[in-house]
């Protein structure tokens, strides 16, 4: 295995290779050895493969982060723990329905935002499903007699439908329905981004607005395409389909690297009820100082391990860590230390003490002068992973 890994440039490229291999294989199976491949969709297929590679690269880098890795590892371990079966299944089902299907928390933010996000996300899920299904040949329609189509999924014939039935119309128009949903949602989002002063505080054009414009470009060109061949006999159809293809390719290539990347990381939200706080707002671990419950044993263990692995020195003189205390006590500790109020041992006549025993660059007793040397500094930088900026 190790040797196999070494034959690649990096782990990430190994994973990408695997993903492309799986895609290729699934295509091979579902098009019965490429007999039924739709050559018109080849451009989409290639950009979808690039999309898959980009996603793999981003996911592996994300998983490599110490915090993500630790949380994900604990969740995976818990997932295969038989004693937790009930808790796990409950956590997965509830998170899936509340967070992904219904997106309740976004509706809590406001009805407008809820509708807007619901439209974009479900529109995208429908369109992506159909696009990938057709380009990789996972799904195709075969005419078995002049009145009936059969849907073939992974080269396995499934249900039949009347060629002009209601269901068939919905299936044919799936992409249009998805596009209209995204169009409504993205337009709502764009309007909010432009008019709302609150969102302007931290919004950045390339991060928050560009993806909306890309989504709009894809949906608008796609819908124009439909209009062209249903009402105008396919006039300019060829050019439009080319333009549409370009917008889709831009979106697929952009997807893993911009705001849309929040979609694949969302499932990690199950880690919260699964490994940390089981019931919302019910804490189980008591604060070392005031005894109030403020967190959960496993979570604090994880937080401490993550901080330790990144050289944060947050241990107090009595051996406890700052994260062993509730947030209120932590704030009080800092203020008392700083005002030299830490009775009874502190010397009330001593100098105004501003050192709270917590390492803050420049204010810690624990760091010697040479720590601030240039070479040392740059060494620190390379040892730590970069924070997103």
């Amino acid at each position: 295995m190790y040797k196999f890994e070494k034959s690649f440039y990096s782990k990430t490229s190994m994973y990408s290779f695997g993903v492309v291999l799986i895609l290729f294989f699934s295509m091979w199976v579902s098009t019965s050895k490429f007999v039924h491949i739709d050559m018109a969709l080849l451009g989409y297929a290639i950009s979808s493969a690039i999309f898959a590679i980009g996603l793999t690269i981003r996911m592996s880098f994300w998983m490599w982060r110490k915090a993500t890795n630790r949380v994900a590892k604990r969740s995976v371990n818990n997932l295969f723990n038989k004693e937790r079966l009930k808790r796990n299944s409950k956590a997965i089902v509830i998170t899936f329905i509340d967070n992904i299907v219904l997106q309740k928390f976004i509706f809590q933010r406001s009805l407008y935002r809820g509708i807007q996000h619901f439209m974009i996300s479900w529109g995208c899920i429908i369109s992506f499903g159909i696009t990938f299904g057709l380009t990789f040949g996972w799904m195709r329609f075969d005419l078995i007699d002049p009145e009936t189509y059969q849907i073939i999924v992974f080269n396995v014939p499934t249900m039949k439908m009347a060629a002009h039935g209601l269901f068939a119309e919905i299936v044919y128009n799936g992409l249009n329905i998805g596009a209209i949903m995204v169009l409504i949602g993205a337009a709502m989002a764009l309007y909010r981004r432009i008019t709302n002063y609150d969102v302007k505080v931290t919004q950045r054009f390339e991060f928050d607005i560009l993806p909306l414009l890309i989504l709009l470009a894809v949906t608008v060109t796609g819908l124009i395409l439909t209009v062209l061949y249903t009402f105008l006999d396919g006039w300019m159809h060829h050019y439009m389909s080319l333009i549409h293809q370009v917008t889709v390719i831009v979106m697929l290539v952009y997807f893993p690297f911009g705001k849309l990347f929040h979609v694949p990381i969302r499932p990690l939200a199950t880690a919260v009820p699964m490994s940390y706080q089981e019931v919302v707002k019910v804490d189980t671990k008591a604060c070392k100082s005031c005894g109030q419950p403020y967190s959960n044993e496993d979570q604090i263990a994880d937080v401490q391990a993550i901080l330790k692995s990144q050289n944060f020195d947050l241990q107090l003189s009595d051996g406890t860590y700052l994260s062993d205390y509730c947030t209120g006590c932590r704030r009080r500790m800092r203020a008392m230390k700083q005002m030299n109020l830490e009775a009874p041992k502190g010397n009330p006549y001593g100098p105004v003490s501003t050192n709270n025993g917590i390492h803050i660059s420049g204010f810690s007793k624990k760091r010697s002068e040479d720590f601030y040397g240039i070479d040392q500094d740059s060494k620190e930088e390379t040892e730590n992973e970069p924070v997103s900026r």
Binding site: A271, T354, I358, S388
Partner: protein, 183 residues
């Protein structure tokens, strides 16, 4: 931006004007992000204001599994990106000072962002602009240095000299966002 948030806990009179102001700030959704708390209620009525330190290497961002906490080019540590945050509260427990707050209903982590829309243009944050006792100030780097020196002198007058091992004890707390360039 070359301004410093300068805190002097002893000056706090507990009026909570800073919290009221914080609620009014853009994008704060009428929820305050700073704290005014009693040092020890059984001993005295002394309160202290507490804000985010805008750490250079923020523990909150390092423990976030979703990589949701971003740092702006000016060095302000922002609230979690709403679309990425998975609501685990690691940031709250990882922060040495217990700053990030979490809203379970809307799944939003929110923390002091130094009123980014104001400080970005060198306008004092809401809390500093309303504090009647100057416990929170938004001042120039040079002024901050002067205040620090004064505090050190105060100690010297009392006959105590800083030594190599404890000279940092003579320097009052300051923090904020500043770059070395004089822009």
């Amino acid at each position: 931006m070359n301004k410093i948030m300068y805190l002097e806990f002893e000056r706090c009179i507990g009026c909570r004007a800073c919290q009221a102001a914080c609620r009014e700030c853009g994008d704060h959704d009428a929820k305050e992000r700073n704290y005014v708390e009693y040092v020890d209620f059984t001993e005295s009525r002394q309160t202290f204001p507490m804000l985010c330190m805008q750490c250079k290497d923020p523990a909150c961002a390092r423990v976030c599994p979703a990589n949701a906490i971003q740092i702006t080019e000016e060095g302000v540590v922002l609230s979690a990106m709403e679309e990425k945050c998975i609501g685990c509260r690691n940031c709250t427990f990882g922060c040495p000072f217990g700053i990030p707050k979490f809203d379970f209903e809307t799944n939003k982590m929110y923390k002091c962002d130094m009123c980014y829309d104001r400080t970005r243009h060198d306008i004092a944050p809401m809390c500093a602009s309303v504090c009647p006792s100057d416990a929170i100030r938004f001042i120039d780097f040079d002024e901050m240095q002067q205040l620090r020196r004064k505090r050190t002198q105060m100690n010297l007058v009392e006959g105590k000299k800083p030594q190599e091992g404890n000279k940092w004890d003579y320097v009052p707390e300051f923090f904020g966002v500043y770059t070395d360039s004089q822009s």
